[in-house]
């Protein structure tokens, strides 16, 4: 299951450059650092806790903002903790939601212990069985353009399990004050008046 060639920071960088109106939820740990490395942005909501929540935050956001594209970027460990959310998303079928799981088959923040994907769990097969419009495993650089196209224009819900190298990369940390992250996201999306709602 090893031998992945994709660099997680390059994958996320390619997905988030020229991001336009894209709304992003970043799962805790390396996925949040990857999104921050691509550029801290008010319309990225990075998590520092509440493990397993990323996809459901994305669903709530996608239902509330049906005209905007919503991308959840998370890791395999975070996704595994919220596996049921794939069934919940599959039942709703939001056309504007995409989930990208950066799968290094390891818990990167806690000592690189194997996750269940390292033992063979096929997350894309789970998402497909839950009713995602498309769900696939991505292994090559040449496939990233298609992932980007899906994120920005594809009919969702879409699920991309991107097999990435097991690098331990320099930390690039987003702000960690949750109230600040919430306020800046709402102000950037809903305008100055959001604070008075």
């Amino acid at each position: 299951m090893s031998g992945a060639e994709l660099d997680r920071r390059k994958v996320v960088g390619a997905l988030l450059e020229r991001r336009g109106a894209l709304l992003v939820v970043a799962g805790l740990g390396s996925a949040a650092w990857d999104c921050t490395a691509a550029g801290d942005h008010p319309l990225t909501f990075p998590l520092w806790g509440a493990m397993g929540s990323a996809c459901m935050i994305g669903l709530g956001l996608a239902l509330a903002q049906s005209e905007r594209r919503v991308l959840v970027v998370t890791g395999d460990g975070e996704m595994l903790m919220g596996l049921g959310s794939l069934a919940t998303i599959g039942a709703q079928r939001p056309g504007n939601l995409a989930v990208v799981v950066l799968d290094n088959e390891r818990y990167g923040e806690t000592g690189m212990q194997k996750t269940h994907t390292g033992y063979g769990t096929d997350l894309a097969a789970v998402a497909g069985a839950c009713g995602f419009a498309d769900a696939c495993i991505i292994r090559r650089n040449t496939e990233i353009a298609a992932v980007r196209s899906g994120v920005y224009r594809g009919r969702g819900p879409l699920f991309f399990q991107v097999k990435v190298k097991r690098d331990t990369l320099p930390l690039v940390l987003p702000p960690r004050d949750g109230a600040h992250l919430k306020h800046r996201f709402r102000e950037a999306l809903l305008g100055k008046g959001a604070a008075a709602q």
């Binding site: 939820v25 935050i57 709530g60 509330a64 709703q92 919430k182």
Partner: protein, 184 residues
């Protein structure tokens, strides 16, 4: 119209699930998520019949905490329906509400308190108020069907006006204890 009736003593039926639905609507709730409970049966049906609500069945209750956070990020209000046994599933996810100040409105049907016959429901039911308090959720009790509209409206104001997590605990006595025909 549901409610208790008796051949000899008609009891005025208060449609408290309709009152809760009405309170959610008047408070601008747009997303309702749930893990089913028998006590929430009619409210869930009312929500599904309401074309102006996004209704989200969950696989586990903590999904609803995150859904509500995402809804608020996107400018919408959400409510979460569950049974008291689901409260324990939510504890770490409630970090979202307490840490970020996300408004959160939870409506809990209580088990394990009034005439409970199932011992497996009692530990979590008894621990529900303290579990919510320790996780930073304010609680309001709903003991009487006639108070449903006022209590849920007050809870919604506390949640969305006060930017906090609020749970309404609907007394098992008010719902009626489940028996499965297990009469002594």
């Amino acid at each position: 119209m549901p409610g208790k009736t008796s051949k000899t003593h008609p009891v005025e039926a208060i449609d408290w699930p309709a009152a809760i639905h009405s309170a959610l609507k008047s408070q601008g709730v747009r997303q309702v998520s749930y893990v089913p409970d028998a006590g929430h049966k009619r409210l869930i049906e009312l929500c599904h019949a309401d074309k102006n609500l996004a209704v989200v069945p969950l696989t586990t209750e903590e999904e609803g905490i995150a859904l509500a956070a995402g809804a608020w990020l996107g400018g919408e209000r959400a409510a979460l329906l569950m049974q008291s046994s689901g409260v324990g599933n939510c504890v770490n996810a409630l970090t979202l509400a307490s840490n970020c100040g996300f408004p959160l409105l939870i409506i809990v049907t209580m088990r394990g308190e009034w005439g409970e016959f199932n011992p497996w429901q009692i530990p979590m039911g008894q621990a529900t108020p303290d579990t919510l308090r320790l996780a930073g959720v304010r609680t309001l009790r709903l003991e009487s069907a006639g108070d449903a509209l006022a209590t849920v409206t007050a809870a919604a104001t506390l949640a969305f006006g006060g930017y906090g997590a609020v749970a309404v605990l609907i007394a098992q006595r008010m719902i009626g204890a489940k028996s499965f025909g297990n009469k002594p």
